[in-house]
Symmetry: C2
Subunit: 194 residues, 2 copies
């Protein structure tokens, strides 16, 4: 068996269950885990930096990249394209680092097919009530949008069975340590399932 | 708000994820948590005791109990009936104890509708691979049955969203303590969702 020491890390969760916060903490704690930087056609926001938050490209450029099979996965949301570059993932791994992606389940499943060496983690909220509370506390969405997010969450949870490992985000510090522990285990070729 | 100090506890998990072992340990650790004893029409095994493992009754008696609405939930498996007596649950609660049920999701959902005061907990395996390993290690089922159990597990997991709380059975001692902690919190009227 060839041991692949470095690999991509896929983290998915229903919206509001904390995949971004968890990934932030993992990246903060581990110098050799870096964020994936997606390509997008959505306009840059004043708080964002090109090449840091996203690679901002034109729709023409993005479609050309699709044609050239340069994405491991891509999707369209609310009229804009988002995609993960194959080359970027390969370069980070070649650079002897782990690349981490906080990504929704549909993109994640596509990614796993093309990179079966990935470590895939599904994060559950402690409960659906807590998920709803977190969504309401963000104060960013209307009641209708929150209902839609909760309905989506139910579908996303059904996709959890395709992930290597389940974790519950009951405590950000604990769950980030649990993920770091899984990364270490997998990099040493140890059992990550039990 | 009326505080109900005692309540039923529903524990579900896919077959092989350890609901029975978890409930055994909770009952062992807590003198005031007792097992629900189901009624069944299945024949008694030599290792079993009537009124301890199950209440063994005739199909005629069971059907009469259904007609008299004496079950909180009942189901048929492999030709035999299984049901949870309403009166038994009420008596245990009146006796100032908690009653715990290790039960599959369909029965659990029926139970929750009729006893919305129940604490409902869904136990996940750490991963689907681990679930499969545990099922294979039991050496009780053929490969076909294991495949069916895994397929059922995928459906059961989709039902998790109806439970109060998600826990992962990565360690029997830890998860039983987590459940005892949830029982204590709920009995004190504290938040059990976060």
């Amino acid at each position: 068996m060839t041991l692949k020491k470095y690999f991509p890390i896929i983290v998915s969760s229903p919206s509001g269950a904390g995949k971004n916060s968890v990934c932030d903490m993992v990246v903060e704690k581990c110098a050799n885990v870096v964020y994936s930087i997606s390509y997008t056609t959505r306009p840059i926001r004043t708080t964002e930096e090109d090449g840091v938050d996203y690679h901002f490209v034109s729709e023409e450029k993005f479609k050309k990249m699709i044609d050239e099979d340069r994405f491991l996965e891509w999707a369209q949301y609310l009229g804009y394209y988002y995609g993960t570059s194959k080359k970027m993932v390969e370069e980070v791994i070649a650079d002897e680092k782990y690349i981490i992606l906080a990504i929704e389940t549909k993109g994640a499943l596509k990614f796993m097919k093309r990179r079966p060496d990935a470590l895939s983690i599904f994060i559950f909220p402690p409960s659906m009530k807590e998920l709803e509370k977190r969504l309401r506390n963000r104060n960013t969405d209307s009641s209708e949008i929150i209902e839609t997010r909760l309905e989506n969450a139910r579908h996303e949870i059904a996709d959890c069975v395709y992930y290597d490992r389940f974790v519950i985000n009951d405590n950000l510090d604990r769950v980030s340590k649990e993920i770091i522990n899984l990364i270490e285990k997998k990099s040493k070729g140890l059992d990550i399932y039990g």
